[in-house]
Amino acid sequence: MSPMLDAYADVVGQDVINHLRLLAQPLRDMRIVHVNSTRVGGGVAEILVKLVPLMQDLGINTSWEVIEGDDSFFQCTKGMHNALQGNRVKIPEHLLRVYERVNKENGEQLRGKLTEADFVFIHDPQPAPLLASCPNKKGKWVWRCHIDASHPYRPVWKYLREFVRGYDASIFSLADFAQTLPHPQYIIPPSIDPLSEKNAELPEETLHSVLDSFDLDPTRPLLVQISRFDRFKDPVGVIQAYQLVKKFVPGQQLVLAGGGATDDPEGESVIAEVRQAAGDDPDVHVLLLPPDSNRTVNALQRAATIVVQKSIKEGFGLTVTEAMWKGKPVIGGDTGGIRLQIINFNTGFRVKTPEGAALRIRYLLHQPALMATIGEKARQFVKENFLLTRHLREYLTLLLSLHYGGVERIELG
């Protein structure tokens, strides 16, 4: 047995782990390589840091390679990321040449390993051109797009598509995000890791010490939105909702917490708007958290009475998943992956306006028993659908599907 698989079995149940073992059996000793552009930080690294050892524990020869690039390269790929999300970002020609050169150099370094692999997963646009460096590849190559590419800026997607079209398959998080490509497009929603610092159980003392550190009163209701300060997350709308609620149910506290935005001019202006909207209300707490604040985020979500994620545009909305896993009712914007997670009256409420958010907050505050029921259903829903083990199961299924020729029905054994 593996201690890591045992730890997951404690959370999701032994039958889920047995299921993974049976699925992994035909893939034993196959060589699988994941490639992305960073070992730490960001959602992709957060998933791979657990997914890779779990695959190894299941007997699959899995490794993780990281490509190296300079500032110009990452400036270019950041532009691509934003363009895939729909921003009209024109990437200068010279940066595109850097992108191609860096991938060529990395391709030379990794060629041996990638050519011999049975399966290669290329994560996001950064390493997408590596395929061209391995003309004699033996295995199947899969491009995993973690970005909401539902409405990409067409010139940038047109450029990227040329690198991606040669892959054997691609993976998108939602059907909405899929693009027209000449190969199968698998739909695999993202997941959260129940054992990570951001999601693991916390002792009561930690919750109290975090609340203390931000001058929050544990005896009064607490509304929390965890998000970077971005207009698509509508932090000002959350403050408006809070103000509407406070007229009817005084004593509320609101926390808007997210990463700092020192390198993002738009982020700074959003924070200024948020502070202005908050005025001098001592019960509105705008918290700029450093990047390594996973434990603080965890504590704030657990201490919340209701979690809000009032996005106007959203990819999948993993902060919703995190809050639901902690048994919280969530009020979320009616958009993107939030629609897949929040089911009105069951796991929370979807809203379109600050008024709608205020209405649902008031409704829930008057029904503590319902809040508990919704929280319990939300946790169960995440347990069944959005934990890392489900993500791994779908990767294994995809691998088997590709291994056996992509037919509709594969009978093993």
Partner: protein
């Protein structure tokens, strides 16, 4: 494929092998934003897509309290806001059709009938597009097997929800035309009739509860069948 096609020389069915499965969803690239587009896509979409929208989605992220038994009906209600169409589509019972092609024809019949009812129906724009999906299924042997109905009754509480999907839901497609599940099909091969148990199993409506609830119900029926036998 049946899990127990062969009978031994005494006419007793071979062991029942508990299988399990995993489904993976794929985008087809087809979307419908109006009822007319839904009709047009239904004409050409693959049978795998029809299968997914009736059965496959039971194994995918979805809240357990389903209001409608198929994705076409849900979309009509939630995105097209056409309650009448949703109710008509929800009446479709997949077990009544001998093939997915026959089911496609029934879907088309209902949609076209609705399109004819009002001039503006073809042009009503849905709040969200219907994404036509399909799935691939991987089936594998769990290594667990039962030589007798009593042994199967003892095994059922331990099997996974995806096993129950395979033997109870997916079976309806594999055994098309026979309107049954793997358990009933296997039981029917024994000399001692289990007509009452089979009737109870066939009366289960599997579309509205969770797979966990479905598993509990099937296990309970088996348990009751054999505890009654012991009492006699």
């Amino acid at each position: 494929m049946r899990e127990h096609d062969n009978a031994n020389q005494n006419g007793i069915p071979e062991v029942f092998r508990i299988k399990d499965c995993a489904l993976i969803a794929l985008a087809t690239g087809s979307r419908a934003g109006t009822l007319k587009e839904l009709r047009d896509n239904l004409l050409s979409t693959s049978e795998a897509s029809i299968y997914y929208h009736f059965w496959g989605s039971l194994l995918h992220p979805r809240f357990t309290e389903r209001e409608y038994n198929n994705d076409f009906a849900s979309w009509s209600a939630r995105s097209l806001h056409d309650g009448v169409l949703a109710e008509r589509l929800a009446v479709i019972d997949p077990t009544e059709f001998g093939s997915l092609e026959a089911m496609r024809q029934e879907l088309l019949e209902i949609v076209e009938e609705r399109l004819d009812e009002k001039e503006y129906f073809p042009w009503l724009v849905a709040s969200d597009a219907f994404e036509f999906m399909r799935s691939q299924i991987v089936v594998f042997d769990t290594g667990k097997q039962a030589a007798s109905p009593e042994e199967l009754a003892a095994l059922l509480p331990e099997i996974t929800t995806s096993s129950i999907f395979y033997h109870f839901i997916d079976a309806r497609r594999r055994l098309q035309g026979r309107q049954t599940d793997d358990f009933s099909s296997w039981l029917s091969g024994f000399p001692e009739p289990r007509a009452e148990l089979c009737a109870r199993l066939s009366a289960i409506d599997p579309y509205f509860g969770s797979l966990g609830e479905l598993k509990s119900t099937v296990a309970k029926f088996f348990c009751e069948e054999f505890s009654r036998k012991e009492d006699l």
